[in-house]
């Protein structure tokens, strides 16, 4: 093993909500320096990507994304809506995935042609100093996809279990097969693992199975900060942002930091920065931790990369459950999301090629999370789906060389 892997003791995953790769990071490809692309490897936007609107007009991507107030109503990201976004037409013979249905789908919600164009808007890198800095300073994935072309709960299930047990929606699901969560696997093997939710008003999105039956797995964000300060992080940590605006126990205003539309994107930037800083500012932790920042799904917002086929996980969702009139066999990934791996052992400016590179490209998804944690910490025969067993893992990105401290960014966050 190289030095990066030899020193690795903690894997931390921060999962944000509902933003696509192009919406958050696609603008990096349009940054120019000295007459050339500054970040040529990143598979972002050219500025010419487009979708037709309900009147047949061509709507190009535009750098007009706002932090809040623009994506209300919440863009559709349930299975039938995402199906239309990907294929541009309803299910039928001969259709091809072309990413041409985003504006059409948002029009169905807004019934307003002008507002339906908002779904094509993206942020410029200077609007998102935290995400853009981390993406360009560490490793950014060109091909990290949500696991299912559908909403939050089933996609987050892939991060916890490596499968959604056949679910493609937000319904309550139960673990029918003996596939333990990544936390149960770790604890059964004598390792430590925790899910840190923000506070009790926000709580977790893994409720019915883990919160109900294994409350000892959970802690809060203040505990995460305290565990960082004491260098007492578990081997594996999963962090959930704040999912709603609420009044804190002390009476203060607590903004949602999950970045789910229409929550404030800047508050999410602050949250990402705080998690990063908590690790970055503790030398003992910084050297021994890999932090993955990833979004659960795209939230109905435009991305130009066609989701690839994937290994089926042995489940099938019935037509009545998908809402498209067709069954879904979990053989295609959902839409691309931002994903960044942070460690002092990652060379600056690493870009992990995705489907745009037919020889070296790799596709990742939420099942890559339990796959990576399992492969690194556990040995022996762990019960898991074929989908997870075959998922790409990401710790090979850690190198032998630790970067000098002066080379590593730090964020000033108020409050």
């Amino acid at each position: 093993m190289n030095a990066g892997l030899n020193n690795l003791k903690h894997i931390v995953v921060l999962m944000m909500e509902n933003r696509s790769f192009d919406h958050m990071l696609g603008g990096l490809s349009l940054v120019r320096e000295g007459g050339k692309q500054k970040y040529p490897g990143i598979n972002g936007l050219t500025g010419n990507e487009s979708n037709p609107d309900a009147q047949g007009n061509i709507v190009k991507v535009q750098p007009n994304a706002k932090f809040q107030g623009q994506l209300d109503p919440d863009p559709d990201h349930h299975f039938p809506g995402v199906d239309l976004q990907i294929f541009g037409v309803p299910p039928g013979p001969g259709r091809v995935a072309n990413m041409q249905g985003f504006v059409k789908d948002y029009f169905q919600q807004t019934n307003d042609v002008r507002r339906s164009h908002n779904i094509m808007y993206y942020f410029t890198p200077d609007q998102l100093p935290v995400l853009s800095t981390l993406a360009t300073q560490f490793a950014v994935f060109n091909g990290w996809f949500s696991s299912i072309p559908g909403p939050t709960i089933c996609n987050r299930a892939f991060a916890h279990y490596g499968t959604s047990f056949g679910q493609v929606g937000m319904d309550i699901f139960y673990i029918l097969d003996p596939i333990p969560s990544i936390y149960e696997r770790m604890i059964q093997a004598g390792h430590t693992a925790k899910i840190y939710y923000y506070d009790q008003q926000s709580s977790t999105m893994e409720i019915v199975n883990l919160l109900k039956n294994q409350p000892q797995l959970f802690a809060t964000y203040p505990q995460f900060i305290a565990d960082c300060e004491r260098v007492a992080l578990p081997d594996y940590s999963f962090i959930e942002p704040c999912y709603n605006d609420h009044t804190g126990d002390g009476g203060g205003e607590i903004l949602a930091s999950d970045q789910h539309p229409d929550h404030n994107v800047q508050e999410g930037e602050k949250f990402i920065a705080r998690i990063y800083n908590a690790i970055r500012t503790n030398p003992a932790l910084w050297e021994t931790t890999a932090l993955l920042i990833v979004y659960d799904e795209h939230g109905g917002i435009y991305d130009h990369v066609v989701p690839p086929q994937c290994e089926p996980d042995g489940y099938s969702a019935k037509p009545a459950d998908t809402g498209t009139g067709e069954a879904f066999n979990f053989d295609r990934l959902g839409i691309r999301v931002p994903a960044i791996l942070v460690s002092p052992y990652i060379p600056k400016g690493t870009v992990v090629p995705g489907p745009e590179d037919p020889t070296k490209g790799r596709s990742f998804e939420q099942a890559s999370i339990p796959a990576t944690v399992t492969n690194f910490f556990l040995s022996g025969d762990v019960k898991r789906t074929i989908r997870e067993k075959n998922a790409n893992t990401f710790l090979d990105l850690l190198s032998d060389q630790k970067r000098p401290d002066a080379d590593i960014p730090y964020f000033n966050v108020k409050g």
């Binding site: 809040q68 800095t133 937000m170 109900k212 605006d245 609420h246 602050k270 000033n412």
Partner: protein, 84 residues
């Protein structure tokens, strides 16, 4: 660790961004439904414990088993004992 001088400033959201009166989206509505489902287990557990008459407990062992169950209902982070 001293804060580096080349640190990157992270802007605050605009004042007035806080809006707890925003209608909940489908995700938060689903989260509340899932919470309710999870609570039913506690209701069942609470009903089980409340069905036991403390005056019927004959031994220290009976009392300790009852207190164990009651404490576990109140302190949910502690694993529950198996039902006898």
């Amino acid at each position: 660790m001293p804060r580096p001088s080349n640190a990157i400033d992270v802007p605050d959201p605009e004042r007035g961004s806080f809006n707890p009166n925003r209608p909940p989206g489908l995700l938060l509505q689903a989260q509340a439904l899932h919470m309710r489902e999870a609570l039913l287990k506690h209701l069942e557990e609470l009903a089980f414990v409340l069905a036991i008459d403390p005056k019927s407990l004959k031994t220290e062992g009976d009392v300790s088993a009852y207190i164990h169950r009651a404490t576990a209902v109140l302190h949910t982070h502690v694993p529950r004992p198996r039902r006898m």
